[in-house]
Symmetry: D2
Subunit: 162 residues, 4 copies
DNA sequence: TTTT
DNA sequence: TTTT
């Protein structure tokens, strides 16, 4: 019986173009690193800065959207949960990983790349140019058109009046 | 184009047994009041306490679960969004309402009712006894068995490995 | 005794330049409207869009920062709580208001990549030009220099190692 | 310049009595494991359950409160941030840890009805009996009386009217 | 290691 | 209207 809430909310900048691969069943898995930086004053009055790099994974349709629209430098809102895994490396040593499994994503800042070279775009968010070659594995079949970059939230129950 | 995040997280105690009604299409709509109380010290060192009463609405399957399992006094986690509405009363005066539209709910505290009279129950959360008469409107048709009280989160994509 | 969590997380666009006033004790109170828009498909496959306008209030130092840095159109992250109030208008009619009391704020989108080509700028977010005249009431005394626009989070305990 | 939001919200059950130690400066550091369990149906209709064990650390006053009031089995709400660290073990191997740094905590479920029959108790949550011996290190000096177990949120600015 |  |  389920017990508990495991929720993560991140706003940060993506450190790399997404890596996208597909399961045998054709489900997309997109991975990015996401940086969140915080500042504080230490007791000497000096400003201290610290950056956490989150490994964020998106599955399914959201993985496809992330693979299309996120790129190095994008500022993004991510909501998801923390997942801890353990594996044994080829060297026989047990290692641990922590991943954020994203279940909602929203691009921020209009022209989130900051390279500003897509002037003339009416919206600000464009698919990455190399998206069709991107990732390290092709999707085996035709990709359904990604949902508008708009809001990536899944609205489950179509009956619900907003 | 969607822009924005509108997210509310509440943990509080329910002030009343849920009111449940059904749309013509058979969708459940459950409403409860939820109290969240905060304390702080004022500048005189006195403890000040303030309670907010949130109007929480659950639609669809979650509405059915809420109608079955929540009752006056239940401690509950609710995640949802804020919705503002405006209507004109019969007196011709415009009025405004604020509702929390719940899209996740989880009961807290094991036997959240405190009436402890359902001894023998193996779990602690039992449907309200009067659920079948509850609310102010009957559901027009047979209610599908509610999901286990367990975890009320909708897991959208069955492909996603946890 | 306090019971409950009342937390709101918003990402949206500001609808107006902030209104700032000061209490007799000199505490800033800044108010803005913040829009969050969501989209969904209705059962006919049409895209439906709905915008909520949140009334957001910032107190104290955060109110000063909001008053300086937010302006109409700013995209912003806000974390806070919901507060419901009731008052009786001059017409003798009871009315209700809902406000989001912000306790954390972070500006978004301002060339978040850091590769900005206007090197020499300290960061991308500039105070509003008319900030010194802004608002509808002056602060009675000298304003302490606002914290760097950077991260508006209050780090309470200086002892805590990040 | 700070950029980003790194926020975690957990509701779960504590797996062990807290371990509390103190820095040379006398600051408490309390650590607990917190379990969050989720369920979902796999594609064969079988119920799958998965538990994440979060390492949660509380510093300062909140660490003292956690050390006093949390115990194995407690249900608790925690809000904080994720922190990743890397260290080299005595075996010379680099290892990584992930911790949740708690900055708000609230105990849940403590006889949420309030009609409790052990009148005379001040409230439902009692300090752990062995708190004075608890943890694996003593605090070097007198502990300031912990804040009421009530609400552990730090209200920063005493001027703020709720 | 928790909880249901 | 809840809860402590």
């Amino acid at each position: 019986m389920a017990r508990g809430i495991n929720k993560v909310i991140l706003v940060g900048n993506v450190g790399n173009d997404p890596e996208v691969k597909y399961t045998q069943g054709g489900m997309a898995i997109a991975k990015v690193s996401l940086a969140t930086t915080s500042v504080r004053k230490d007791r000497d009055g000096n400003t201290q800065e610290r950056t956490e790099w989150h490994r964020v994974t998106f599955f399914g349709k959201l993985g496809e959207i992330a693979g299309e629209y996120l790129k190095k430098g994008s500022q993004v809102y991510v909501e998801g949960s923390i997942r801890y895994d353990k594996y044994t490396g080829q060297d026989g040593i047990e290692r641990y990983t922590t991943d954020i499994i994203g279940d909602e994503m929203q691009m921020l800042g209009g022209r989130g790349d900051g390279r500003g070279d897509n002037a003339g775009s009416s919206g600000g968010f464009a698919p990455r140019r190399d998206a069709s070659q991107g990732g390290y594995q092709k999707k085996p079949e035709a990709t359904p058109a990604p949902a508008a970059a708009a809001d990536f939230k899944d609205f489950g129950d179509d009956d619900i009046p907003f």
